[in-house]
Symmetry: C2
Subunit: 352 residues, 2 copies
Amino acid sequence: MRSMRMKNRVTLKDIAAIAGVSATTVSLALNRDDVLTEAMRRRIRKIAAETGYTPNAAARALRGVRTKSIGVVINYFDNASFKTVISGIEEVTNKAGVTFWVAQTHDQLGREEAQIRLLAEQGVDGIILMPCSDAYAHLEAAAAQFDIPIILIYHNFGNRFGAVQVDNLHGATEVTRHLLAALPDRPLVHLSGLQGKSAQRTRTEAFCAVMRELRPGVAPEEAVIPVQRLTLAEGYRAMGEALRRHSPPLSVFACTDNVALGVFKYCRDHGLRIPEDVALAGFAGIDTLEDLGIPLTTVRIPDHALGRAAAERLLECIDRPEKREDCAVITLPVSLIIRESTGGGAQPAAPA
Amino acid sequence: MRSMRMKNRVTLKDIAAIAGVSATTVSLALNRDDVLTEAMRRRIRKIAAETGYTPNAAARALRGVRTKSIGVVINYFDNASFKTVISGIEEVTNKAGVTFWVAQTHDQLGREEAQIRLLAEQGVDGIILMPCSDAYAHLEAAAAQFDIPIILIYHNFGNRFGAVQVDNLHGATEVTRHLLAALPDRPLVHLSGLQGKSAQRTRTEAFCAVMRELRPGVAPEEAVIPVQRLTLAEGYRAMGEALRRHSPPLSVFACTDNVALGVFKYCRDHGLRIPEDVALAGFAGIDTLEDLGIPLTTVRIPDHALGRAAAERLLECIDRPEKREDCAVITLPVSLIIRESTGGGAQPAAPA
DNA sequence: ATCGATAATTGTAACGTTAAAATCATCAAC
DNA sequence: GTTGATGATTTTAACGTTACAATTATCGAT
């Protein structure tokens, strides 16, 4: 029993033989509701169910039919936003009977290109991509060659591709204003990500704009300390750098919660109190931090809604090819969450 | 230029036409090194590269050729182990030129079944599965119907499937012994996961065995407090339950780091000090906790090696079908990490 | 030059599905 | 009871690739 391998998947032809009809009839019975006799359709579907028939996706794809699958490409599987975006995507695709494949790029252009290509070769109907840089030539090539739509998330390339992002401008402006207002007497530095991607660039620019407005005495560039990657370790390193420029008390705006965690650790290791010695804010709230007792002021971004929006747009582009010309960039709102790392709820975000 | 969609992917036949040879020759040139003239092979490969040819995966799969892709199915994308297992898998598959698709089951049997089926239909050569229960009928069915191997991770179904797991018995025994030795005067409870899966069952059994040996006065069952899911919230709830049975000081062995985090939070919220009032140990170390300043005693499990081992075994089964009969369960060693949540490094694990 | 043997290349068929065209059945209307 | 029209079903062909059998080219030995 166990060793009996039924190597041969049951196929349309098999069912056709059992039912005494043609393969086409079986195909029609299984895929259409408007064409065969009710009785015939039911009879064939019953046989299909009993024999455990499953359509051969390869044959379908070869025939040029939708595979009802999409690809999702992100930088790292352990990106803090990943699980939430994915759940948003899943919500939409599940409802539409579409499955998705996930791949990671390690934030390397070569891998991004390879993964996109692989997904396309596997016959996905479209791709949701968190790009690792501003480069897009390979994306245009792939989209054209395989004739599939690509929707970007978190970043945008001007209006070259459809994209869903968050309001980095507003978020970073708010955080910066908050830090300056809450602790007007302290120097403020910004631990800033590499400027190769739109989201990071926008945050940094917003920071500089607010600084120019409210701290006219300081050259904003002086207050920007670059981190090479958005990691805890880099945040730790950059915080050391910051303290070489300013002695506490000090305010810090980290471009990412992950980077902010590096600052937390640095302070713990060096006996600096938050917020007394170092006021700290992050960005792109890791929502588990609160439960872990890490009260970080941050900007919460709507990862779930972003995933939903991206999936909805992609499915629309797949169904209606004319929609692919629409390269609008959707920007979702963000919200400032004030916690103890910047002095606690002293300044409510809005009157109750 | 941009609007020019070259709907037609270049195919073997196209290259054949350009080169003035047959499609078969092109296929040979691209896939084999031992059959054509060196010159011919080079000439054709050059054309293929220039035209941007990519093989049609669907056609290959239909022909019954390996797709060089495998499926990885886990419970949740935000499972703390996920990113590390995946990186282990990726290391092996990358080297072999194999890609993988990832899917999640939400720990629901129905979804597990559906995802496996979908992956199989897409033509993967094999599947690595973190099962959501002890049920395996659907797995045997899928493995037989699609003639693909399945390797389990983290859990095992006796010797019915090849599996790679960690030494839960040893790990749980060590933690329990450590807690009893470090704090001999306190009551000890175990927050225990649902017993439907082998890993959780083994941990609970190990706990009970040690208790029977070293605390003969207590019925081990009395010391077991079940959690319904392996979440922080459930850990929080269960901790309340524990404190209804025993007043502090108390020792707690949580079946999972996630559950232990719930205990941490409970203690923070209720003014209980760790380890003074509550000594706490977890399992399956979340390696970021240390950096976050959460000094949890735990059992570190080798997620990366586990991913590697599973991928290696799967690829072997794919290449050599006779290996599929080998349903051995590989058990990887674990290590006890002692931190402050059980009183710190007072008891070194082994003499230096 | 012719034959044999070996290497290089090609033609054919098939994988499972479905769009489109073709055939067949049914039945109302004259 | 033949005609037309409508609906149900089938035949044919094709998607791109590769295993296999068949063919053709090459070249050394006679």
